[in-house]
Amino acid sequence: MKSAKTLHSILSIIIYLILLVIAVGIIMLVLFLTGILDTSTIFNDITEYLKDPSLYVFMGLILIVYGIFVYGLCQLRAAAKGFISHQFYDINHLKNLSIAGKCFVLTGTFAWLFDGLSSIYFQSKFSLSMNDKTFMYLFIIAIGLFIMIIGQALNDARQLKEENELTI
């Protein structure tokens, strides 16, 4: 299963990259707040909002969304691991798929919502998310729903397999 192995590797890289980006973001925020780094040298627009609590509320919400997304990716990676080891109908891998689908739907919906709200609040001076592309959100929601359906189909197959083994 070359494709499953590639999928597993790409997912691992993306998960670690997202975690790295989040960690760097948090470290930079701490450096700005403690005054070690001067915000005006990097972001001019954000300086006037640094004392506004809404900034941290939106940051917290978007961090939660990214957390859900990473969790979804981890679940998809676990399912890919199952594909590699040929455990196609293992109940745990089916659960992984279902959870991944739900996580993607949640991510797409809430990231879109928080991105829109933060843009309105901060008058589109800057965006807190990685990318505010509407297509990305639409695609993530659609694929999340699709993965949920796939999980359902695989569950049906698992029942067939059990029935098959019982008959034999």
């Binding site: 494709s3 790409i10 297509f135 699709f146 359906i149 067939l160 034999i168």
Partner: protein, 165 residues
């Protein structure tokens, strides 16, 4: 299942319409030099030839994406009919995966071109901000490609089951 199917149809429809509008803006700007976005880039000189080629390749990316989505919609139709395991479903998953991988990787490479060429003047017309979308496309394409193998095994199991009965 039916409700989910309708939601997925609407989402894919909105996605395709959005991408189509984006492409129309890109093509009219870069191929026909019609400055719809009023960025004022078409007054001095013609758009470079390589950017026209990039615009055409972006259109190819969109077409590949549309074919991938077309196969996905066909898969959804089969799922709602309860046809979870058949040879055609396996083929549909493989084709959909293949087209999404192609579209995702080509789109991602095209997104990198302004950084290689160091020309950011027409960036608004080329929508070079959608790298994450193309990465997601490649991942999902790979997932579907891998999944076609599982459908194959499921199909075999089903046939065995029917023969036993």
């Amino acid at each position: 299942m039916k409700k989910l199917k309708i939601i997925i149809y609407i989402l894919f429809g909105a996605l395709l319409i959005g991408l189509l509008v984006n492409s129309i803006i890109s093509i009219s700007g870069l191929l026909f030099e019609n400055d719809i976005l009023n960025v004022g880039h078409f007054t001095e000189k013609d758009v470079p030839f390589y950017l026209k080629i990039i615009a055409i390749l972006k259109l190819v990316t969109l077409l590949l994406f549309c074919v991938g989505i077309y196969y996905l919609i066909k898969i959804l139709k089969m799922f709602t009919q309860g046809l979870y395991f058949s040879n055609s479903l396996e083929e549909l998953f493989r084709q959909s995966g293949r087209y999404l991988i192609l579209s995702g990787s080509l789109g991602f490479l095209l997104n990198l071109t302004p950084f290689i060429i160091q020309d950011f003047k027409y960036i608004m017309y080329l929508n070079f901000d959608s790298k994450s979308l193309y990465i997601a496309l490649t991942i999902i394409g790979l997932f579907f490609y891998a999944f076609s193998r599982i459908i194959n095994q499921g199909n075999f199991l089903k046939q065995e089951n029917e023969l036993t009965i």
